[in-house]
Structure formats: C-alpha cells, structure tokens
C-alpha cells in the first residue's frame, strides 16, 4: 500500500500507453483519438488502481476552484445553518463545493477570511461581514471572484457588488409599531451596534419617535444569548419603567427572557419580549417568542443562484443587483 494517490502516470506506466491517452479516456470516455482496445485497458487499470482524478490539479489547470464559500459571523446562531443549507443545495447541484468560514464577528477573523479569499480558494463567495468595508473588497472583485453580500443595501447605486438583504429598519419599525399597538409605551431595545443591529435600532427609533415615545437603549456586547441575559439583568437591576423589550435578534431575546424570569417577572404580563430572525427555537420557547421571520434557506438558495449567474457570465456583466427579501411579523405569546 503506497500511501500515495495513483495518478495518470501510474496508469500510463501500467498500460504502456501515454499519459495523454489516459487523460483523454478518463476525461472524455469514448474519444476517437484512442482505440477501443487502449481505452479498455486504461479503464481497467484505473479501476484496479483505484484512480480518482486529483481535483486540485484539475482546478489549477482550469484556473477555477469549482468551490463557493459562505462567510458567516456565527455558525452556532441557528439562523446561519439554515441559510447555509439552502446555499449548499443549489451550489452542489450546480457542481460547486461549499466551504464555510466562521468569523466569530471578529475584525481580525474577517480580515483572515478576506485574505483567504484572495488566495484563490473559491470562485465565489456569499459573505456576511460586520467589519470589512466595501472598499476592501475591490481587490477581490477585480480578480474575478463572484461576490454576494448579505445584510446591507447599496449605499450608492454605482457599486458593482450583488446584494441580498431584508429591510431591517422597516421590519424593526413594524415590530415596534406592533408593540405600540398593544398599548406598550415603555419599550426598550436590546441591541449591538454591529451587523444588522444598527439598522434594526434605526427602525425602532423611528417608530418610537413617530409615536412620541422615548427610546430606551439596552446595549449588549454581542448577538448571543449570554449577552442578552447580561444586558437585560443589568438593565433590570436599575428597576426601570419598561413594559416591553425588543431584541435585535432571537438569541438576545432568549437571553433576555431568562434574565426577566430570573428576577421573578412574568412574560408577557410584566414584560413583553420580541425578537428578530425566527430561529427554530423561537416557536418552542415558553412563552413562544414573537419575532420577525425571514426565509433563510431561500436567502441561501438565491445567493447561490446569483453567484453562479455571475460566474456563468464570465465577469462579462456585473450588474450590482440589490435584491430585497420579504419578512413577516410573527406574533406569538411573548408579546
């Protein structure tokens, strides 16, 4: 046992034919340039040696990696695996492998991801960056890497990058208005400034302002459950006037629910809670979490379609499409 992959040269040596003939047969099967006899011998030897083409070599030759990447801030946030699933389904059906890169929403890890992309590992990438600015992506685009960005609509129409987003501000505004309609007057927002946090806060503020209500900001230091729990606990310790809390995502909301319960308050009677994302756990909480639903799998599928379209166009056209995806308010028992 050679502990080495058999190559076309090995097959050529075994059959006494040229490596060219081996490549031709293995790649194109019944090719007129090789006799039926030679072909049979090649296929038999390939079978016997357990030959599988080295994809890395094929990729180098093709100057394409046949791989797409998905860059996400936190794969343990259930909203992302759902998206990844949809992305993989479409990508793999189209013959692309998928790599997932988790940045932990850290600036240096996002830089690392960007550098990794520049190294040519992938033909295209679906990215959700929290720190990397658009200008930094110019180099990537310039060398022909297909790119779809998640989560922020284009600032200027001039940019050449495809985008996929939900109206975070609009959705947050709608949810805030729904809370106001339920007679809440003291509505706080737990959020984190990064990623979609800013836009969601903006929507909340705009709804509060329109209703003549005062905003109450509860800053969290991340988008995870623990951050929500800590932020809410600290807030509650000040014995504030607050009948509802809107969290910038479901994990924060779930953490906040734990903090509320920990001080003996009831949800929604004492404090109502709403989240954002509609992760699977949201419907299963007690009380079930009111939240904003998006179709993450559809987002992933659409992103893959856009990347493949870009690659099929061979960089010929690069329209910089910005596609807005729908959302729905899901009013459950927590608010």
């Amino acid at each position: 046992m050679p502990l080495r992959r058999p190559t076309q040269r090995d097959i050529a040596a075994a059959t006494g034919l040229s490596q060219t003939a081996v490549s031709l047969v293995l790649r194109h099967g019944d090719v007129p340039a090789v006799s039926a006899d030679a072909r049979a011998r090649i296929l038999k030897a390939a079978q016997r040696l357990g030959y599988v083409p080295n994809r890395i070599a094929q990729n180098l030759q093709a100057t394409r990696s046949h791989t797409l990447a998905c860059i996400v801030p936190d794969i343990t946030n259930p909203t992302y695996p759902a998206m990844v699933r949809g992305f993989q389904a479409v990508s793999q059906a189209a013959g692309y492998d998928v790599m997932i890169f988790d940045t932990d929403a850290q600036p240096e890890r996002e830089r690392q991801a960007l550098n990794w992309l520049l190294q040519g590992h992938v033909d295209g990438v679906l990215a959700s960056f929290f720190h990397i600015a658009e200008a930094e992506l110019a180099g990537l685009v310039r060398r022909g890497t297909a790119l779809v960005l998640i989560g922020r609509p284009a600032r200027k129409t001039s940019t050449q990058i495809d985008r996929l987003y939900v109206d975070n501000a609009g959705a947050a505004r709608a949810m805030t208005q729904a809370l106001i309609a339920k007679k809440h007057r003291h509505i706080a927002m737990i959020s984190h400034p990064l990623g979609p946090g800013a836009e969601r806060c903006r929507g909340y503020r705009s709804a509060m302002k329109d209703a003549g209500l005062r905003t109450i900001d509860i800053p969290a230091d991340g988008f995870v459950q623990d951050a929500g729990m800590r932020a809410m606990a600290e807030f509650l310790a000040q014995r504030p006037l607050c009948s509802a809390v809107f969290a910038a995502n479901d994990l924060l909301a779930i953490g906040a629910m734990a903090a509320i319960r920990a001080v003996g308050l009831r949800i929604p009677q004492d404090i109502a809670v709403a989240g954002f994302d509609d992760i699977p756990a949201a419907a299963l909480m007690y009380p079930a979490l009111t939240t904003v639903h998006r179709s993450e799998p559809a987002m992933g599928r659409m992103a893959a379609d856009m990347l493949i379209a870009q690659l099929d166009a061979h960089g010929a056209e690069r329209p910089g499409r910005s596609i807005e995806l729908p959302y729905q308010l899901v009013m459950r028992d927590s608010a």
Copy 2:
C-alpha cells in the same frame, strides 16, 4: 483592470528578474540567493500589483491541501455547529482551512462526500457517517488521508481508524434508570435506527430489562423535530399507557413535547420527557428539557488535534485510537 490574478510571472516581467527569484523572495524573504536591491524591487512590484500567492498552485506543488473537512449529517441540528466551532478553532490555529459537508444523513449524499474526499480536496477529515461502512473508507486511508470517525467505537481493535465517541448505550441506560428512579414504569423511547439511535435504544432496553419493565418503541423517520412531533402524535392517538418518553436526541424530544401539548397533556405531570445532546435550546424550553450533556466543542477540538497529529506523523504511525468522551445527565424540569 485585468480580471486576472497577478502571478509571479507578472512580477518577474515587471522587475526584469526571473520568476525563480520572485518565488524565493516572496516565499522566504531575506534569502542570500537574491540581492537586497532585487528583493526590494520584487516586494515593491508585488505590493503594487496586489500579488497574493495562489494557494491552489502551492497546494498542488506541496501535494497537500492544508484543508480539513468536517462531514456532518445535519448542520441545522445545533449539536453540530457547536462541534464545528471547536474543530475550526484548532484547525485554523494550526494553519488548516476547514470545509463543512452536510450529508443530510442520506446514503447518496454520504457517497458523494466520500467521493469528494477521494478527489484529494482535504488532508484530513472528521466524519460522522450514518450509512458508509468502515470497509468503504479503506481507500481513503490507503492514500494517506487522515481520518477521525465520530460516534461508533471500534468493533475490532485491528482497525486503523481513530475514533471519538461517547458511550451512547451507557448514557441512554443511565438516563432510563434515572427515569425509573423517578417511579416511571411505562417509559417509551422515540428513536430512529440510524447513527447513534441504535446504541441509545440498546441502553434503554438494557435498563428496562434489568428493571423488569416492558419496552415501548416509538419509531421516528429522522432525527429532526418534525419527525419527533409526528411520531409522538401518532403514538398518543392510540391512547397508550405511558408516563415518560425518552427521545434519542433533543430535536426529537422537542418535537414530542409539542405533540404532547397539542393533545392537552401536561409535561411532566402527565408525561415526562427526556432528550439527548443538550443543545442550547434544551435549557430554554418550557419546561426545561432533561437531557444528556456532552461537550461538543471539546469533541471538535479533540478531533482536530487527532487529525493534525496523524498528519504530523506523516502516516508513520496510525494507531487507531478510540477515545471515549464523558457525558453527564442533566436533570431539568421536563422529567
């Protein structure tokens, strides 16, 4: 804008030096074989052209991909992202990229994953297969791919594959005994025959048998929430005698809880529920789910360590280690 990556040849052309010199400087920096002046010109040109080495070419040359893979049955089951995180942390710190492959627990998708591995994309792989038999992995091992399997202890000590597992049967047995200790006599088990399901059922059966109790099997057609809900609903429709349900994983348990509530029964007063995995949602359910905890991130980290050790040993030693990881029963309110 060339829509093509700059290569070492481009830098050589720009500086009038040889491609060899460019490679030497870019790879080794201050190398005696190149003059300080030449080196400066090369670095400047590389900077100006935005040169980043093509990792695919480097990998072909090195006959190593510097990539590890994680093959999981369902990335949307929160138990796997937790493991992936630990795996990535160690892998990336050691200079390996990580690819994630989701098989959806389908036989054909697992075959696809195996074939993909054979194509040489990765140096090592952490795999959780439900269908692929060990014998089918021989080819992979023979060509030097490092391998760590999750979830099944070695049948024979002779196999040459590293393994990482928890004592599924023992844990299920312990949980069943805990339910029996709580005076439950009619304990059903919801499970699925694949993956860890069989072992967990075995533990359940052994505990029931020892206690002189009759087993009650509720077959599910997968390890997801919906499957748990359907299976439990169907079971409840028969108005069975049953005071506790043990589910082979948390997603099944959560689905079962929904089905129990749907027919107006209370948890745990009418039917107690226990799960397996301790996904983050388990602690947040109402009532909080009693379950079996494992440290998934530690499992991922350890797997990465084992793969890297195998690769560092250059296939010299391949001990076929089987490492058992600890588990803990987490008794919460649902049982």
